[in-house]
Symmetry: C2
Subunit: 262 residues, 2 copies
């Protein structure tokens, strides 16, 4: 299935304006594709950062308006983190996995295990924010799979091509330093590529056989996107072959009871 | 630094023969580049699977020749895994992180935390193996950073271009299903891309600022390579901009004492 061709292209769709609440994401994507003089074709994957969706959904929270719970105040004091931000992290999550100085690793309501519930407190400011307002935090999008599906539907309708859409974020991980792009929303392509039915060059069944396809697409796109840079929130990945698939990003999540590190 | 261009190309260098002990890896890579009618240029990254290097280094072990220790026998019985394979895993590692039915997650001598010490017991057979021999296991390469450096030196000398080399494997990970390509050897490009000196669009310092550059290159290359498929062990990644760097893959490793999941 994968790499039916020998070549992938990863193209940043440049010139996207900074997105504001209520902006039409599909319309922005269509304009970005046109601007890049690209004609979408079957098998193209449009990759969009979670931050773009969060901004379009108006997922900003002004920290001074957050009333921290007792638990958030205590935890914030223990780990040296703003209690209002801790409160937001706890509201966004179902379980605290680990805590340490300045960091809370949690299971997000969407199922991902991620530091600080994926909340962006670095460069999130809504345009039109009053002088002296903030600091602001930007939550993950409400329903990334649904957003991916909506974007896919619009782009397929306008292009006539069969597409995939991946919503990405940059996550840290155990054991290794640095963030990598991961898929937090998927539509149109299989999140996992299961090769269990296939055999190796010598005809033996493959042992290590499930590839995190959508996560690798996210990582590849992150090389040109730069999660921190809102000027490259859309990337086209061209050259993969896949069967149309309606599974979402939850396919990528290990169940807690089967996770040696939960 | 990253994506000075808007476009990456990921090209599988096809037609590489199955590699045997003692084969000249750089010569094979040069031939594969020529066959693809590619002229290497500054900033190109040559990605090679660890399996290719392991085969060239003759890292095969025939399981019937492995004498398991008492510890390996006991551990194998506990987790339901061949004691001879457990013995090899323990010899290749410095620490057992987790064990469960059929799997040992260890810290490899090279520093990576990886299931089963990265030993490939699925499709590893040396050519010329006698009928009825085996089963065989294939260990990770002896010194992937040094192999990357040697390959880079040869390719830079023959091409005149400034190159990067990444040696990849496919690892599973906590929290998420499916394997992803990771860098186990690096030379010529920065393993991590540290943006701490940079600021966001609004001039504030970035918070989440270190990207696992070489791991993302490995993941992107894995999309066309397919770790289980020895027919695509070489991939070219073109279009990244980076400063020449002599750091190795150890830069990507979180120190155990700073790892919340060690």
């Amino acid at each position: 299935m994968i790499a039916c061709g020998d070549r992938l292209e990863i193209v940043a769709l440049s010139g996207v304006p900074i997105v504001e609440r209520g902006d039409d994401v599909a319309g922005l994507a269509e304009a970005a594709v046109r601007r890049a003089r690209i004609v979408l074709r079957d098998g193209d994957i449009v990759v969009v950062t979670s931050k773009l969706l969060s901004r379009a959904e108006g997922r900003f929270v002004e920290l001074p308006r957050v009333e921290p719970s007792e638990r958030a105040v205590a935890l914030g004091a223990t780990i040296g983190k703003d209690a209002r931000l801790v409160e937001l992290i706890l509201r966004e999550s179902t379980h605290v996995s680990r805590s340490a100085r300045g960091v809370l690793v949690v299971r997000h309501k969407l199922g991902f295990v991620v530091a600080n519930a994926g909340i962006d407190a670095s460069n999130a400011v809504p345009s039109g924010a009053a002088a002296g307002s903030g600091p602001w935090a930007l939550l993950l999008p409400e329903a990334p799979d649904a957003s991916a599906a909506a974007l896919r539907e619009r782009l397929e309708r306008s292009s006539g091509a069969r597409l995939g859409v991946v919503v990405t974020d940059s996550f840290g991980r155990p054991f290794r330093l640095g963030t990598v792009g991961v898929a937090v929303g998927v539509c149109g392509l299989p999140p996992l590529w299961d090769r269990r039915g296939e055999s190796d060059l010598f005809g033996r069944p493959l042992e290590q056989t499930i590839t995190a396809l959508a996560d690798q697409v996210a990582a590849a796109a992150d090389l040109v996107a730069g999660q921190a840079d809102e000027r490259r929130p859309l990337v086209l990945v061209r050259g993969l072959c896949f069967d149309a698939c309606d599974r979402g990003a939850a396919d990528l999540l290990r169940r807690a009871e089967e996770d040696l590190y939960a």
